[in-house]
């Protein structure tokens, strides 16, 4: 069984970190994982995307054309990748920046205003954590407490921003659980 999640947005939104945290939690759960970034002459505001592969066996090709799920943080990402998602997958849509949803009926759409939730939680910069939390709650790919521990570990050197991120995480989970 293999699951692939594409995280996509613009540079600076914390895409790579969200993806890394997902991969890290899945690894701790005992899965094989690969985190494959797009890399290139990118800059803040440019495009960024990253694929996380989670599998119960050794991962062959880490290059994925048709992911199981998509986390789209901005409009170009949704437009570019939504048709690649396998039927039955979850497409996460950051409705703070994406005014539309997809016409596809064979996928599940999870529409979350992450920027607004992050601002309410204390800082817009935690919006990637809101997205990660909401997606994790919906997809049930990893244990949520384990994922929270991974976030705490990641921010261990900047302990003062942990409470903000924990709050953002909980808000993300709540939104996903209450609005579906």
């Amino acid at each position: 069984m293999q699951t692939e999640i594409k995280f996509a947005g613009f540079g600076g939104q914390g895409i790579l970190l969200s993806a890394k945290l997902m991969a890290y939690a899945a690894m701790k759960q005992g899965s094989f994982v690969a985190w494959v970034p797009s890399y290139g002459p990118e800059m803040r505001g440019g495009t960024a995307y990253c694929t996380v592969v989670i599998s119960d066996k050794l991962i062959g090709s880490p290059i994925i054309k048709n992911p199981t799920h998509l986390v789209a943080m901005n409009l170009p990402s949704l437009e570019k990748f939504v048709n690649d998602v396998k039927p039955g997958g979850i497409v996460f849509i950051n409705s703070s920046l994406i005014p539309i949803t997809s016409n596809r009926t064979d996928i599940e759409q999870l529409v979350v205003p992450i920027n607004d939730i992050a601002i309410k939680a204390g800082n817009i910069r935690a919006s990637n954590i809101v997205a990660l939390a909401a997606f994790a709650a919906k997809s049930k790919l990893v244990d949520l407490d384990l994922l929270k521990d991974c976030i705490k570990e990641e921010f261990a050197a900047k302990a003062k921003i942990i409470p903000l991120n924990m709050k953002a995480f909980d808000e993300g989970v709540n939104f996903a659980n209450n609005n579906i």
Binding site: Y39, I59, S61
Partner: protein
Amino acid sequence: MAKVLMKGNEAIAEAAIRAGCVNYFAYPITPQSEVAEYLVKRLPEEGGVFLQGESEVAVGYMIFGAAAAGERVMTTSSSPGISLMSESISYIAAANCPAVFVNIVRGGPGLGGILPSQGDYFQATKGGGHGDYHLLVLAPDGVQEAVEMTMQAFTLAEKYRGPVMILGDGLIGQMMEPVEFPDNLKTEPSNKDDWATNGMDTRKSKKRNLVKSLFLNPTELNNNNLALKAKYDQMKREEIQFEAYNTDGDYKVLITSFGTMSRVCRTAIDLLKEEGIEVAMLRPKTVFPFPEKAVFDAATKESCKAVISIEMNMGQMVEDVERCVKGQRPVTFYGECGGDIPSPEKIIEIIKAMI
């Protein structure tokens, strides 16, 4: 030790430290710059030296200097940088000095691109610099193997007193995978007092050592080349590593592939198996010395009708495969080298067209 999630570049850097390498000289280039970024933080903690050269040419000779002094030393670069270092690699090989070179290959020729490629196979296995020399070349297929091979590379460099190369690519450098580090390698090069210019004060022997690559006397030069040849012959006997994948069944097609590309082929083989189509793969882990006999044996199995070499270049390793198959089976090739990695679906389509 527990598994950690690391980028290939960072994992290679950590592996070098665990192999006892405290000398690292480099010049930044995408897609390997994280190695330097990691070591600039870590090496001072280990009492080591990181020095950024003014160019790859300078870095190559910093490596030569440290290697001549019998120090464990490594550099990392990507394709155009390795080209610039090739002169010094030839000198290091000629002077019989141990050193580790890591090439996180990007697309070429010229400045090419910054995405993964396997276009430096010829450069790594057939020369790069001038003269009759070889590097021992290890080709990892992921982050875990990159770590293991980096650590092995130091042992092999010292065993053969010559340059060893890790032939990776941009994907292996940039990708994060779980990795488990083997036990630290800390043994000192045992015989360095016999050959290294490590200073008379630091060793017991009073013999003066000379490290050089200039041999104006034809007999002396011929002898040095014979000694190098003897090392390469020994590597062919003792160091060949390969992976045989799905070779137990009655396969009709044998794929040869290395590094990142072999992972895609592995997925394609698994998917074909589900459809009842048996395909095998022979993956050289050392691309020099090349697993000649293993390739011949796998290709000439009775069920096997054809061999295809699949690479992220325009046809390089395929020449070694053809040489090993000795005309016993048709050998074809498929490759892409713009930076996009061929998909398993593409490989499946090509294999199906063959049978």
